[in-house]
Subunit: 398 residues, 2 copies
């Protein structure tokens, strides 16, 4: 049976088209039927990641794609992307080790975290990594000392970009400081590659990149006038996955970004992208089991549906209900009613949705399955080690 | 050197008295000096847990203390509490296994999670557990079938109680429904023990228990009139740890709660407490290392201090900045200035404090230590399995 993504009341939730999703879901459902793995679990369809990678490569022809490993560090996912010729954006030494173990060459790896211990920079250098991102004087000096001769991007901080999961001001520096740092990089014997930025994960507005690209163009022009040539532009991640709020097609993002670069740069830079969610989210289906359906009083019309997955074993991105997943309840497709959805721990914050009112079948009961669609990104990797005794979410690849 | 807890600007932060904390911190610092474990790490002083357990046993003489294992499931902590004669409030089969492995007898265990798979109830029963908490018809019937003859508490839902980490409406049912469920428990061959509730973790108001105790008294009286005798009252957890906002002394909570029970109950019930944070928070010190100190622009007076611990490897309770830990920077005690504090991942939400403006020494730099005091509860147990490649927070007990 084709899945019927469940409607939400507060947000528009068009069902994804059968053409786009049936292949992945059919393969995942076949696996679930055949192997009956314990719930909760995440099943990732590798063919969908391959499709997304090829789609992105075509939309940004000539760009270098650095997969943001943190989105889904499953070995099979990294291995597939190595085979496809991807590059890798890593946050830590263990992510470097993972990529190398799965066959990546060091020159395919970018240490994109601006927060790095000097010892970790040295470790990366020793393993052959020669590309780093920085946003501060202290980090730049550490790179120059522990990874001499390397290439660096400098990240700029952006005003609020309207992303569903904005970065705030944790990363990046003001444009003036970025200009100084890139010039200083050259003085320190490093190769300044260009400006980087991030418009925020799950960005639904194709125009959100424009202001940052304009700033990057200005910095690049200013440094060119000083004799420091930047040849690249790192536009980060942010391309969306498919959740309840519809996202524009990839072509819209590619067109808007390409137009911005053409407009704001005198010489066209080589583009770098750091896609995470876009490559893997649609490839995943998280299967959970209903633990309990209850009401809080005899007159309450809203049911509470408790699942064996919650915020601490896979669904961390439901924090503040920012990410509203599409749901499917296989085998239950009758009349629906409003529910609060919550996880299995004794933690009062382990509630998935109560402000976004989801509707689920009235006949839903303990033992039924609830599938979370497009959960390939930022799910298993956020799992707690065993909060309340519940094991981390396992990943199965098909 | 005695630690100097760092002031915050937005919240009152009196330094804890030397008498209360010097012992634990001195022992932990001695361990850190001697063994130099890798950072970040949590060090737990078992003697402090023993003190808190004895303090609580005296304040609530005659009550049964069920340690909420989820607060800190380190084996050494559970083993110590077994030795002290504690009971255990568990949330899942792995927590049952943990307690039994550390020497608890099944009759010391309460399966306090109202969200339970039938198979998990059966597993608990098979391991000898005979005490459960419920708040719904479906769960009660599952207990009657899978754990026949067991004893049950029924949890009621409370209005907002002013706790710093409120439970909302995830747990408990309305008083009328609780009355029905406890009566039905008796009909199903179970032993209805009494009402349970939770006023929210880190509760700073000793009067917060009164309304719930009044409701429990009414339910108990109503059922007595129907011939169903409840002999116990489970007042849950909520007793506070010591963070930046000062908490009243334990004696104030004990006096207020005891007075409420006397006032609202005709026959005095046996009290059950489920302390987690109160027993273990003050026993822990989380040592972190400064990864980077930077500014976002040349004119910014506020520094960003990035640590090797963040929301995803130990400090989950800084979500929304609800819990404001006391900090100490050993060896650095000069002039201070305002900082934003953030963790090491590439995640924009991995910021500890930016609205509560902490002040840290101006001379603080990469490689220095920042110690988070009173972090024995709800830290290591929330750690992600390896988000961004960062390992879960290890615990060392002294």
């Amino acid at each position: 049976m084709a899945p019927q993504p469940t409607e939400t009341v507060d947000t528009a939730t068009p069902p994804p088209t059968a053409v786009e999703l049936t292949g992945a879901i059919a393969r995942i459902r076949e696996y679930l039927e055949r192997c009956k793995p314990a719930t909760p679990c995440l099943v990732v369809d590798l063919a969908t990641i391959r499709e997304r990678y090829e789609e992105l490569s075509q939309a940004f022809a000539g760009a270098k794609l650095y997969y943001a490993v943190k989105a889904n560090p499953a070995r099979e996912v990294v291995r597939l992307l190595v085979e496809l010729g991807a590059h890798f954006d890593v946050a830590s030494p263990p992510e470097i080790d993972l990529c190398l173990a799965e066959g990546a060459r060091p020159e395919q790896i970018s240490y994109g975290n601006t927060i790095k211990k000097r010892a970790d920079i040295g470790y990366a250098y020793q393993r052959g990594v020669r590309l780093f991102t920085t946003d501060s004087d202290a980090d730049l000096e550490a790179i120059a000392e522990a990874a001499p001769g390397s290439t660096v991007f400098c990240r700029i901080v952006l005003a609020d970009t309207g992303s569903l999961t904005p970065f705030g001001h944790k990363f990046g520096c003001a444009p003036d400081m970025a200009t100084q740092l890139l010039a200083k990089a050259a003085e320190l014997g490093l190769t300044p590659a260009g400006v980087s930025f991030h418009v925020g994960s799950q960005q639904l507005d194709p125009r959100a990149w424009d202001a940052a690209i304009e700033q990057a163009g200005e910095i690049t022009a200013k440094l060119a006038a000083e004799g420091v040539e930047l040849t690249m532009l790192n536009i980060g991640g942010g391309l969306p996955g498919r959740y309840s709020r519809p996202a524009p097609p990839l072509a819209d993002f590619a067109a808007a970004i390409t137009a911005s670069v053409t407009k704001h740069f005198a010489a066209q830079p080589r583009l770098v992208l750091e896609p995470g969610r876009f490559l893997v989210s649609d490839a995943g289906l998280l299967r959970s089991e209903v633990v309990l359906v209850s009401r809080k009083s005899t007159v309450d019309d809203k049911r509470w549906v408790y699942l064996d997955v919650g915020r601490y074993n896979g669904l961390a991105e439901t924090e503040n209900e920012y990410i509203t997943y599409l749901l499917s309840t296989p085998g239950r497709d009758g009349e629906t009613g409003p529910v609060c959805l919550a996880g299995p721990t004794c933690d009062g914050d382990d509630v998935l949705y109560q402000h976004n009112v989801y509707r689920l079948p009235m006949e839903l009961r303990a033992g039924d399955h609830v599938d979370f669609l497009n959960t390939g990104a930022y799910t298993a990797s956020y799992s707690s080690i065993a909060f309340n005794g519940f094991a981390p979410l396992p990943t199965h690849c098909v």
